[in-house]
């Protein structure tokens, strides 16, 4: 019974690597800055979707706070670049670390109680995110409304995309490895029937804490990429799009099927990037409606169609 999922994953894993590398190749071949930018932004959302699906998709502890931790990563990058001029690799690390730390602070008190409370509390996070930053802005020493002129990953957009693609592959591998081990099974178990698991003597608490902290670290990493692509770190990073889109992508790719988020991500974000100018106002509305449709009718995403 364990053999099937692993084979699917390994095939899926190969395909995902292929897709990500394909985007890097395409961007170098076509050399369109807008395409490269769009692919980079797709990658950011894909990372967020991966982080979300890896934690909430498997354990069914729905986490609405992902955009908060994304924002933490964005501001960490801004702060450390502005105050200390850290080089790019260190900025990635700091953002991930802060994402993990913030994730820990939030998760430890809240996963102790029932999953419903966790979800509700996580909902509060993005809502107060902006007030949070504003309350501490004097401490953070921001020049104006945010951190300005942040360093880019590389002067060449194509090279930046290659770095980002590599990061995604690293995260992908991490996810794949974890899911193939005992840890991954426990996660699924939590999602299927946590009380049964607990009766069997498994303490689910450390697993939940680890998975959510790590996932929010990944969200922080996505934040660093965003800050370095837009060269700006501001409160727009706490916006609800950074919650809505990753969730839609994760569900479309199949909740819990994690790797499905990759093709889903390119599909959705590339479409939105290119069509944004023409249907801009409607896009968010359509995506909210799409999200509702998916949650109600296709919770397993595309793969739910043939199952």
């Amino acid at each position: 019974m364990k053999i099937k999922p692993i084979h699917f994953l390994s095939r899926g894993y190969m395909i995902s690597i292929f897709l990500v590398l394909l985007t890097a190749v395409v961007s170098i071949v076509i050399r369109s800055p807008f395409l490269t930018l769009s692919l980079t932004i797709s990658d950011i959302f894909i990372l967020l979707a991966l982080a979300w699906d890896f934690s909430s998709g498997t354990t069914n502890y729905i986490n609405f706070g992902i955009s908060f931790f994304f924002g933490v990563g964005v501001f960490a990058t801004g702060y450390f670049y502005y105050s200390f001029h850290l080089p790019v690799p260190l900025l990635f690390i700091m953002s991930t670390v802060f994402g993990i730390l913030a994730g820990l602070v939030f998760t430890i008190p809240t996963v102790r109680v029932r999953g419903v409370f966790f979800t509700l509390l996580s909902l509060l996070l993005p809502l107060i995110g902006t007030s949070f930053i504003l309350a501490f802005w004097t401490v953070l020493g921001m020049p104006t409304i945010g951190y300005f002129d942040i360093v880019q990953i590389s002067k060449s957009p194509e090279v930046s995309l290659i770095y980002v693609s590599v990061l995604i592959l690293v995260v992908l591998t991490l996810i794949y490895v974890v899911n193939s081990t005992h840890f991954g099974l426990v996660l699924k178990g939590i999602g299927d029937d946590e009380s049964a698991l607990v009766t069997q003597g498994v303490n689910s608490f450390p697993y939940k804490v680890v998975i959510f902290s790590v996932s929010m670290g990944i969200a922080g990493l996505a934040g660093a990429i965003y800050a370095m692509t837009t060269t700006f770190a501001g409160v727009d990073a706490f916006g609800l799009e950074f919650l809505l889109y990753p969730m839609v992508i994760a569900i479309l790719g199949g909740k819990g099927k994690i790797l499905g988020a990759i093709p889903a991500g390119y599909l959705i974000i590339l479409m939105s990037q290119y069509l944004q100018q023409y249907v801009g106002d409607l896009t968010l509305m359509l995506f909210a409606a799409l999200a509702i449709f998916l949650f109600l009718f296709l919770p397993k995403g595309i793969s739910g169609w043939y199952k």
């Binding site: 095939r11 409304i145 002129d149 501001g234 916006g239 390119y266 479409m271 595309i302």
Partner: protein, 466 residues
């Protein structure tokens, strides 16, 4: 696991990938067909603007007005060829505060690399503009932007050779503040000379909780940067602090309660956000009877309130506040109403209203000017590349509807104050009839016209003797 389910899974995956590639490819293809082809007879001006808002459409309209005028006079002559100006827009939707800055980046990247525009003019929201600047600089594309953030000049100054492509075509918040302070000073003088009955000695200063007010409010209280200048001008500052964009309990009444107990006679606000309709409506309905210094009347409200400048069909501040803005003074720039800032102000106003039936708002006079002085610089350079045009743009000395446009070495808009302000501030006031009137300009700081007093009467003309 048997052979059958194995290949079925593969088929599904392949199908998914094909779908992704097809759909993504279709989107790209559709987009590419929309991109403008460069014609050698056109100079393309890219405008990243929030076209989903009257702010953006007004900026586009003012630019279009200038473009039409120039084109009808033969366009721009460079190296023997007559070029026509053409505007290419990108709707960044940035007026909506929930839109992320990546929209602006998309816009600038798209305009430069897909539409191959020669220059960029536009930008509105400070954080979006901040994100756009390094991108424009990277592509060596001249970008005249209209934010109020003094950091725009800092950006140019800290790395001139890389960032010289950026110009700020609007008055930044520091320069704005310098002129705003004149209005209350002269009003107080008018009171002391017995010309108006409204005593505004006790002043409260409120800044919206946003970064641009930091230079004025600082940490609040007596250490605030604005505190000393106001005190030295003869005022008694009762309160100086930030006010939240979203007040707890949904009302500013508790703040006003504090102000009333401090016997505040006038309030000076710095606000550019959408919370002002609420603040102003609360100000109007609040019971000020505890305020002994005003005899129960609401204290005079004045300051920078961007929303309050809007009078018109798409959005009207009087309607939005349910009449609450009655009596409020607000500052603006350029001819938002027919006022003689420079000789080109009223002609611009008339043409704008004739063509677009909406009043020009605060950026519009500047956007209109930018098309003209950019064209001048191109003609002097006799070369279309940004690098060639920039040195001439730096020498701009152009008189437009909003004032005289000159740039500092770090490409900020210079505002000189003597003998008269080169870019004057205009103060307007809402009257009880729901209309906005010009009451004062910093060109004639001693004179007030059409001022509605606290008791409701309107005085037609008052001149202070200094």
């Amino acid at each position: 696991m048997n052979q059958l389910s194995y290949s079925k899974t593969t088929k599904i995956i392949v199908a998914v990938i094909v779908v992704v590639i097809v759909v993504a490819g279709a989107s790209v293809a559709f987009y590419e067909t929309q991109a403008h082809k460069t014609s050698s007879k056109y100079i393309l001006i890219g405008m990243p603007l929030p076209l989903n808002s009257p702010i953006g459409t007004n900026m586009l309209d003012s630019a279009q007005l200038a473009v039409n005028q120039i084109n009808s006079h033969g366009g721009v002559l460079v190296n023997g060829t007559h070029y026509q100006l053409k505007i290419v827009t990108y709707d960044t939707e940035e007026a909506d505060p929930s839109i992320p800055v990546s929209n602006g980046i998309n816009g600038v990247t798209s305009l430069i690399t897909q539409d191959h525009v020669n220059y960029l003019i536009g930008g509105y929201r400070s954080d979006v503009v901040d994100a756009e600047l390094p991108i424009a600089a990277q592509y060596h594309t001249l970008y005249i932007t209209f934010g109020a953030d003094p950091e725009i000049s800092t950006f140019v100054a800290e790395n001139y050779s890389a960032n010289k492509y950026i110009f700020n075509g609007f008055v930044n918040s520091t320069n704005q503040g310098v002129q705003y302070g004149a209005l209350p000073v002269y009003m107080l003088l008018a009171y002391k000379e017995g010309l108006i009955p409204d005593n505004i000695t006790n002043f409260a200063i409120l800044g919206e909780q946003a970064a641009w007010t930091k230079v004025d409010i600082g940490n609040g209280g007596t250490s605030s940067p604005l505190y000393k200048p106001f005190e030295e001008a003869g005022f008694n500052v009762t309160y100086i602090n930030y006010f939240p964009l979203s007040p707890p309990g949904g009302s500013y009444d508790s703040l006003f309660s504090q102000l009333a107990s401090l016997n505040t006679q006038a309030i000076y606000i710095l606000a550019a956000g959408t919370e002002t309709p609420l603040l102003v409506s609360n100000w109007d309905t609040f019971d000020w009877s505890a305020d002994r210094a005003t005899g129960g009347a609401k204290p005079i409200l004045m300051g920078a309130d961007v929303m309050a400048e809007m009078e018109g069909k798409t959005y009207d501040y009087y309607n939005a506040t349910n009449g609450g803005c009655n009596g409020e003074f607000t500052f603006g720039w350029g001819p938002m109403l027919p006022v003689n800032i420079t000789s080109s102000s009223i002609p611009f106003y008339n043409e704008f209203v004739a063509n677009y039936s909406f009043n020009p708002i605060f950026e519009d006079g500047f956007v209109y000017s930018s098309i003209y002085y950019l064209t001048e610089a191109i003609q002097k350079a006799q070369n279309l590349s940004s690098n060639a045009v920039i040195p001439y743009l730096e020498q701009t000395n152009y008189t437009g509807p909003a004032g005289v446009i000159k740039f500092s070495p770090s490409h900020g808009l210079i505002v000189t104050l003597t003998p008269v302000p080169s870019v004057p501030a205009v103060a307007m006031q809402w009257h009880s009839n729901g209309k906005l009137y010009v009451v004062w300009t910093s060109l004639n700081p001693l004179t007030f016209t059409n001022v509605q007093l606290q008791n409701g009467t309107v005085i037609s003309n008052v001149t202070v003797k200094v």
